[in-house]
Symmetry: C2
Subunit: 741 residues, 2 copies
């Protein structure tokens, strides 16, 4: 996959034009008051409304995004968003500073290397033009233009150290900064979050449902006398949740029907027909009923049923897990970190996830079953990463036009239209692959949740890890080594040093391809993200045809949060590309800086104005990101070792300390900073808070919405469980509350 | 290294004869009352004295060893000794049960395989006797006697599963048993040990020595209000320890001189001369002084100096570590497991080692320096394991007789004696290797301590780990692959699947060699251990020429504890041999069972009657042992995969699940049982104790002997710090107290 310079410039130009168009669309739409819910979702939710269109210049968003400090970002968008934005910042810093050496000093050394020209002008090659090397302007700027054994390679060896030390420096400072901010936000808050008083206990030994409550109570009262407050034994919520969702559906249907009827009455009181629907399958068959009356009846019945189910759930469906509440944050954090029972695999404790972050269905899985599930999921992920091409090739083989005609003969006449036939023929073989790639992050998330993980935040981190492997093996290595992941695997088990040589020899050839790839992501990806055209379009369509109630309107523009599981690996793929090419083809660096720079402002604008977090894990994604930065650096250093060997550089061993240094740096940061993200220090937990939640409030927070008593529900507008814990201002901003509103 | 059957039988016979001789020596010596201190050291120390010689039959020790239950052994010898003995028990169980299949079913299949005979009788081979395979009776009993592609190999494939499942079963039961016993002994004691109330805190942030006491006090008072009792800031003890040791030397010298003088007076009051000595270098030069008077003067002076040093140590030499005492065992165990400070790398807490187990000199090393030291030590260990032959070859090259003559011309006449010359010529080239192997465990212990580890027990575990790698690479693989560890390393980085093939093809040839090796260890090693001839001899010589005081006599027979750092890897080497050959050459199994059986009774006898532990770590060696059993199984399964491939067994893939199963089993036991050894559960810490030590007692326990105030020292006979914590009866039994007594 080599790309000529002119092809590259064409593609770059196209990308920039598309970006310009999307930017103009953004400028037009952002001024429309009716679309404030799209571009200022957060302000609308907070009730402050969109800013005056007159005061908003075309680059106001840019200025605001750049001006917002880390603290401000954390306060307005949460630590998780801050950590994600820091990924871009770190990359800009590393690649930006690397440019100082790699572009200013190394690039001229490459351009004047003259290897390609020299080679083509040797008498041997001049005599036989077939032997000539075809090279582009891009190729001349890469290390490939240096002669073998040249003393100029010292310049590149130094570049390796320059990039590495730059990376260590910025990774270290940012990691430290993130950990300090995390401590600041977890500790010094106006109002302590309920989760800080709660500990999630799993693998409680067998006991019947009747005695489980007292079993948990007496165990913790004995082990934590004076500090244990109370405990809620968790139950299987599946049945009660089903009834609750049914009731919610009917409630929404009723509101919709009432709104439709009211509208009809407004138009013409006489002719207004009460909405009707059929009660059978999909509303297509069955008796026709009056929707409003039917819904009211159903609601009453379901209300009683829900109360019954709630009672049954509490009394008879308890599982081996519980939420335990303490009267002190310090004791809660100690209890979460300590082994409790003599049989250490029972009574396992962990920091309680935020109430809205808990995956209730995963509690109650015994530890050994979690172990088995995890092993199985890892096995399946391995198969997906390395063998996913096999089923896709098989499916592609079947999904030809001829087969389609065979299976759907009634469509034959359509297929015979030559235009449709041409499109299908070009498109069908790719179809399976496209569908697979589109659902892959969701599939991986599904698998990760099946491991039995207790919180959504953790599941997203797990998904990001798996997806990252997929990207590295199938995109980065797949393109570079130009082979399938399966082929690489075979190669690796047979001859691991061979893959280094292979990587070293193939990498330079793919520089232009990857630069094109980065440019595409830079302009199209960020253009779509900034302009939010897709979301705006869906909103407008829904508004026109579906939305009748305020609740439905809210659901139509609900922004949600960043899809960390898919986004983080995508951006980290760019990091590994930048790292691996920084020395070999330094011209990639400005493109990386552009990608991360544009992403930085666009995503930061989204974080500040649009996205609403589903949960707040306190930036626990950061160690994950940090480690993958280091892994990229490590891979790049191994690759460079191989490439320097191929270049027959006699002093290649001077590069051997680099991967060792990276490994040591990894262990060092792991030892010093990673703990700060996995456990809360007693000192942090002890910091003064103005307002402590009562035990009742904490308990209420950890009661799932479908377990809340009817009468209570009407009393409390927004249950405290939905309050994001680390920033006060945005308390109403949760997509859970959007969904259930 | 192949051994013929007759050579093997000769060596076996010699070993048995030597064992018989040593056993007779044992039977004779054990009856002598004067040697009770050697064979019943523990009883003598406890004051119960040796049993009546008449009641002791030749196999009483054997009966007692077999009869003693795990609980009894733990009570009398400590959990660490129990864990060590369990290594033998586990090996007997695994290899014993494996014999049921491998000897009864597989061995006949091998013997009747007839491959060697068939091969030698093919016309081709008969025509050319050079092509004949030389095989012994042993070889016929191995898998080598099976024809390639034979269906008989199914029997061996089944054997692999049989051995694996046997191993899983016994490893699991024993691990579980050990963890239960550990919980029992840590929790339910008559008298709670001081360590259970103490937490070792390291990496206390900077503060000057004057304020450090209050800094530590206020930090813990704030974080653990109501449960924090007091703290002792630790100091650099090097100087005060030097003065103390000097004083001890003089005290012992005085006692010796007084004893000598008293003896002389008893013989002849008139002629008795007061002992004298020269005060200069090594007592060879300088003025002659009256020893008794001189010692008394010195003692007085040193007493004052010690008091000064003690004061200076407490006030001006504090370091960044402290022992923190709590009023509850539950809080202490929680505090040891929790992150305390916002900067998680400061104020690091860990379970306090036993007072006698602490390596005081290693406290005060900041965490990053420990990290650097650890990295350096790992690097050095790697070099030792893989490159140790290089310096030894160089040294051997120099230490020839000719060089010796050059450097020591005055010894020329001696070297010219032909007998001495012959011995030297045979011996010199090996000398460097022999010296190196003798000091290796000590060298590794020295390196491990330099890592900055806080306790001797931990350092011994680290040593065992390093030594095990050395043994596996240089003995097991060294002999099998018949190459240097360095060569294996090269092979591995270039072609890891190649090493499996190489291992598979070389292993069967070495079976006889290793059986001879095991037999040697079985009879000579255990003969020496049982008879204790070396220790008895040293004692008798010292008694005759050196011992004058009771204290010196005690020191002359002080038994010490098992040298876990060197012993455990030695025994684990036998495990890996047994595992790897169990299927390939099952005849090794009876020898393994014999080795572990004999070791079991001999070592158990030593644990019960002789050895006195230096410390009690609560059996924390067990996870280490368990993991290496599994590693051996894993290596054997990989090897078998290679060997089955070489045998061209078509169903070889049926063996692929085995190493995966072993890896999963490892993770499973790690997840479920390993925690029980690294952390104490709150439930365990909370168990009722009859007697709780006072804060003063705990503080005194953690005061090193050289910091004990003179006047106090004379008050207290045995400071409570020296009490082993899990068994009450043996409280006086510590080799520390022996040394200082």
């Amino acid at each position: 996959m080599t790309t000529s310079t002119s092809a590259f410039l064409t593609s770059l130009f196209t990308n920039i034009v598309i970006f310009a168009v999307l930017f103009v669309v953004f400028l037009v739409l952002v001024k429309r008051a009716s679309l404030a819910v799209i571009y200022y979702s957060k302000r609308v939710l907070q009730g402050s409304g969109a800013p005056d269109p007159k005061s908003v210049g075309p680059f106001t968003w840019l200025r605001d995004a750049i001006r917002a400090s880390d603290t401000e970002l954390a306060e307005r968008a949460g630590l998780d968003a801050l950590v994600y934005i820091t990924l871009f910042k770190t990359a800009i810093q590393i690649f930006g500073v690397s440019m100082l050496y790699c572009i200013i000093i190394e690039l001229p050394v490459n351009v004047t290397g003259g290897y390609y020209e020299d080679f083509n002008s040797t008498p041997d090659v001049v005599a036989d033009p077939n032997k000539q090397i075809q090279f582009t302007g891009f190729d001349k700027m890469s290390m490939g233009n240096i002669s073998k054994k040249s003393a100029r390679l010292w310049c590149h060896a130094f570049a390796c150290y320059f990039v590495a030390i730059t990376a260590y420096y910025f990774l270290w400072t940012n990691y430290k900064k993130m950990s300090d901010l995390r401590a600041l936000f977890l500790g010094g808050v106006t109002r302590a979050a309920p989760r800080q008083y709660a500990v999630l206990v799993t693998d409680i030994p067998e006991a019947d449902a009747k005695t489980r409550h007292s079993q948990v109570d007496s165990f913790f009262r004995r082990l934590h006398p004076g500090t244990f407050e109370s405990a809620t034994v968790i139950s299987k919520y599946a049945k009660v949740e089903k009834v609750y969702q049914e009731k919610e559906k009917i409630r929404k249907k009723l509101a919709h029907a009432e709104a439709v009827y009211a509208e009809a009455q407004r138009k013409d009181v006489e002719k207004a027909k009460r909405p009707q629907h059929k009660v059978g399958f999909l509303g297509l068959v069955g008796n026709k009923v009056d929707t409003i009356d039917w819904c009211r009846d159903q609601l009453a019945a379901l209300g009683a049923k829900l109360a019954d189910e709630q009672a049954a759930t509490t009394n008879d469906r308890t599982i081996n897990s519980a939420m335990v509440y303490f009267n002190s944050r310090a004791v809660a954090t100690m209890a979460a970190q300590s082994v409790h029972a003599k049989k250490a695999e029972t009574w396992q404790t962990q920091v309680a996830p935020e109430p809205r972050d808990v995956i209730w269905a995963n509690l109650g899985i015994p530890w050994w079953e979690k172990f088995v599930r995890q092993s199985a999921v890892y096995g399946i992920t391995f198969l997906i990463v390395f063998f996913f091409m096999i089923p896709i090739t098989i499916v592609s083989g079947f999904s030809t036009l001829d087969n389609l005609k065979k299976f759907a003969p009634f469509l034959k006449s359509v297929f015979n239209i030559s235009a449709i036939s041409a499109i299908l023929q070009a498109f069908l073989p790719q179809l399976a692959l496209i569908i697979f790639l589109a659902i892959l992050p969701k599939l991986l998330l599904f698998l990760t949740v099946k491991e039995g993980i207790a919180s959504i935040a953790h599941a997203n981190r797990g998904t990001a890890g798996k997806y990252y492997y997929f990207m590295v093996f199938n995109v980065f290595l797949g393109v570079t080594v130009a082979g399938s992941a399966l082929g690489q695997l075979k190669q690796m088990t047979k001859n691991p040093s061979g893959i280094v040589d292979l990587l070293g020899s193939s990498i330079p050839q793919q520089a232009t391809f990857f630069i094109t790839f980065i440019a595409l992501k830079t302009f199209i990806g960020n253009g779509l993200a900034l302009s939010q055209v897709v979301r705006a379009l869906i909103y407008l369509v829904k508004l026109k045809f579906l939305v009748k109630t305020e609740e439905e309107k809210l659901a139509a523009w609900a922004p949600g949060q960043f899809n960390y599981g898919a986004n983080v690996p995508n951006d980290l793929l760019m990091v590994i590309l930048g790292m691996c090419y920084a020395v070999i083809a330094p011209i990639i660096l400005p493109f990386c800086v552009l990608y991360f720079g544009l992403s930085y402002v666009v995503k930061k604008n989204l974080a500040l104005e649009v996205m609403v977090p589903d949960y707040e894990s306190g930036g626990r994604m950061y160690p994950h990101i940090h480690k993958r930065f280091l892994a990229s650096l490590f891979v790049s250093q191994i690759t460079l070792l191989g490439y320097f060997g191929i270049m027959q550089f006699t002093a290649t061993p001077v590069l051997i300390p680099l991967p060792i240094l990276t490994a040591v740096f990894h262990l060092y940061t792991k030892k010093s900073l990673e703990t700060r993200f996995s456990s809360t220090a007693i000192e942090v937990a002890l910091q003064d808070v103005k307002e402590e939640p009562s035990v009742a409030e904490v308990t209420a927070a950890y009661t799932p919405e479908y377990m809340v008593n009817e009468s209570v529900e009407t009393d409390i507008e927004a249950p405290p469980s939905k309050a994001p814990e680390i920033y006060r201002d945005s308390e109403p901003l949760t997509s859970n509350s959007l969904k259930s509103a």
